[in-house]
Assembly symmetry: C2
Homo-oligomer: 347 residues x 2
DNA sequence: CTTAGCACTCCCGCTTCCTGAGTGCCAGGG
DNA sequence: CCCTGGCACTCAGGAAGCGGGAGTGCTAAG
């Protein structure tokens, strides 16, 4: 960890804040004026020179001002940033947004839009995996002789469903019976347990099972298969906000970035990483490890249901973002979301 | 409708095709060479002059070649375009994509991705309104004493659900009874009918209704309320493909365009418009009537379930797109989708 | 009616020049 | 020893100037 004189710290802080504000390289003269420093431009230049040697800032070219490096941002975020809590007004307006909605799934999805609106950046939300949730009930519904709707309900009110085409027709009575047996067998287990158990049951010979139950297992298993394929555990909103930033206007990079939003793979990994840690996490530029995000910073915070981390909310923007503001917003949002979900959960 | 000499038509066709191919204004010399015309550049210039007077082409500036106007594209599409059917290989590869998936909802959603991949433009899909579908069954499931999961199943296998918080606790038996009464009352009606009937029933005094049925009606109504709010009847994919086109690289326009993708309002209107007509529809530039789309063309085709138009698929790209190819693809895709859905429906 | 020829226009890319912002260094002063 | 004013130096970026080339419109001859 680099250590600086208080003056150098102050200077660096002023420089980065200035650069975040207007995106232009900042020179010694402007810095003195802007930040109201009590020493001269020449002194500032000397200090800047030191900071440059430490790799915290750099010049785009000889006669331009200085610009923060990723290391500079990192230092800024780690030690210079006073994360002032949001003023109560902002908190209140965020809270309002959480009152309107009640359905947990919808609430979670709406948070990405909320984040993108208040930060004017792109908002992301990692929705909970369903694995840990308790299994509540399974229903078979005959749509037609050869089409059966399988409905699987989890304890938190999530519903998974899928139309399947069984090999032979089943009567409603048979379906009812199968569902009963199935529900008896799996009641109270977690979805992940159910899924694993189903896989195992499918592998076993069908002989040691009632024919009807075997069919039920097969059908239920298809619900999971469908979920695994079609699941969208990640929501991104407000991508178009990023078009407003000149530093992201390189078409090729922009394309990569938007492809990453579509593919979601990389973002998912990133968010999963940040699920293990507690509190707000910040990935500056290349720190995320993904090329597409190298011109961006990502601020994330996990959220919980009844004390258990289940997902992550976050914001993606240019490296030059108002970290203090964004961090507060992401933090508060994650807390509010946790609160809303846990209340809803407790019923 | 403008009418041209055969030669002028041929010239215009060649010019537009050339421009579509490389995006550069095309001059008389290049046109002669490229299109293998048997008359001289000077003649071409004379004809071009006529075409310009008719508003079919224009010069970006004095010494540049000519570029099609929207009117030019329109004429091209209307009368010059020989929509060659896709070669069987392409059709086959499209067909493949329709085999893998079976769930209608998922299939429909995946089509927007499919279209964006094969055209390298943005794909859009308008999913069916649920109004016309038949109502199959309603279920109430007690999650906890104060939380009830309402599951509404339509005849086509679509499932709508919502967690509600009734004012007083209901026992599973009560819920079962309510569902039975409800299902008896509404079986066989369309969702729209059910919805309207629910609204009416809610207005009426509760006295002439069993208390339990009234609760059922209220709860069921909330499912529709939830659907109306959260419904996403439009899917867009491959937006990032559009970043590759220099004519769309104006940041401000790009932003508007992407905002339109997010807001979806305008696109929805456009697609609803094209649902009433049969077959492929083409909106060139300002023809769509939406500012955000003024640099784009939209190609759409409605798709059907059992002979009834239920939605629209389409492609959005720059005005300079390979209309013949895109039209074929959109057309075939709509047909294949209709086929897949109708088969699935018939069971 | 076509076509060759020709004068004309004007974008584009190239260079050149200049200006202004900003730096690095040095030498003097507290 | 550190700060500061001064000064020479660098360099991006805009303005101006300058062909070259692509393309046009017009005219006159075949």
């Amino acid at each position: 960890m680099v250590s600086l004189t208080p003056r150098a710290e102050r200077l660096l802080k002023a420089l980065i804040e200035q650069y975040i504000a207007d995106g232009q390289p900042v020179g010694s003269r402007t810095l003195v004026k802007q930040a109201g420093l009590e020493f001269s431009p020449a002194t500032v230049r000397n200090i800047m020179s030191d900071l440059e040697e430490l790799g915290l800032i750099r010049s785009p070219h000889t006669s331009a001002g200085r610009v923060p490096t990723e290391r500079g941002y990192r230092f800024f975020v780690n030690t210079l940033l006073a994360v002032k809590p949001l003023n109560t007004q902002d908190v209140a307006s965020l809270e309002d947004r959480f009152l309107a909605d009640q359905d947990p799934q919808q609430l979670i999805e709406s948070v990405s839009g909320l984040l993108s609106q208040v930060t004017r950046l792109a908002g992301i939300v990692r929705v909970p995996r369903r694995a840990g949730v308790g299994f509540l009930q399974l229903d078979f519904l005959a749509l037609s002789p050869t089409r059966v709707l399988v409905i699987l309900v989890a304890q938190d009110g999530q519903v998974m469903n899928r139309v399947i085409h069984p090999k032979r027709p089943y009567s409603p009575a048979e379906l009812q019976q199968a569902a009963n047996v199935f529900n008896g067998a799996y009641s109270g287990r977690s979805l992940e347990e159910v899924r694993r158990s189903l896989v195992k049951a499918l592998r076993r010979d069908s002989e040691d099972m009632q024919q009807i139950l075997r069919s039920a297992v097969e059908m239920a298993h298809q619900v999971f298969a469908g979920e695994e394929r079609g699941e969208q555990p990640l929501f991104v909103s407000g991508e178009s906000n990023l078009l407003a930033f000149p530093e992201l206007s390189d078409t090729e990079k922009l394309r990569r970035l938007f492809d990453a939003f579509t593919a979601k793979q990389d973002l998912l990994h990133l968010l999963d990483q940040s699920m293990v840690s507690q509190g707000v996490q910040i990935f500056i530029g290349a720190e995320s490890g993904y090329e597409a995000l190298e011109s961006c910073s990502v601020v994330t915070a996990p959220y919980e249901v009844d004390g258990q981390v289940v997902g992550t909310v976050g914001v993606i923007g240019p490296k030059r973002m108002s970290y203090d503001r964004v961090i507060s917003i992401v933090d508060v949002t994650a807390r509010l979301l946790s609160g809303a979900l846990s209340h809803g959960q407790a019923g």
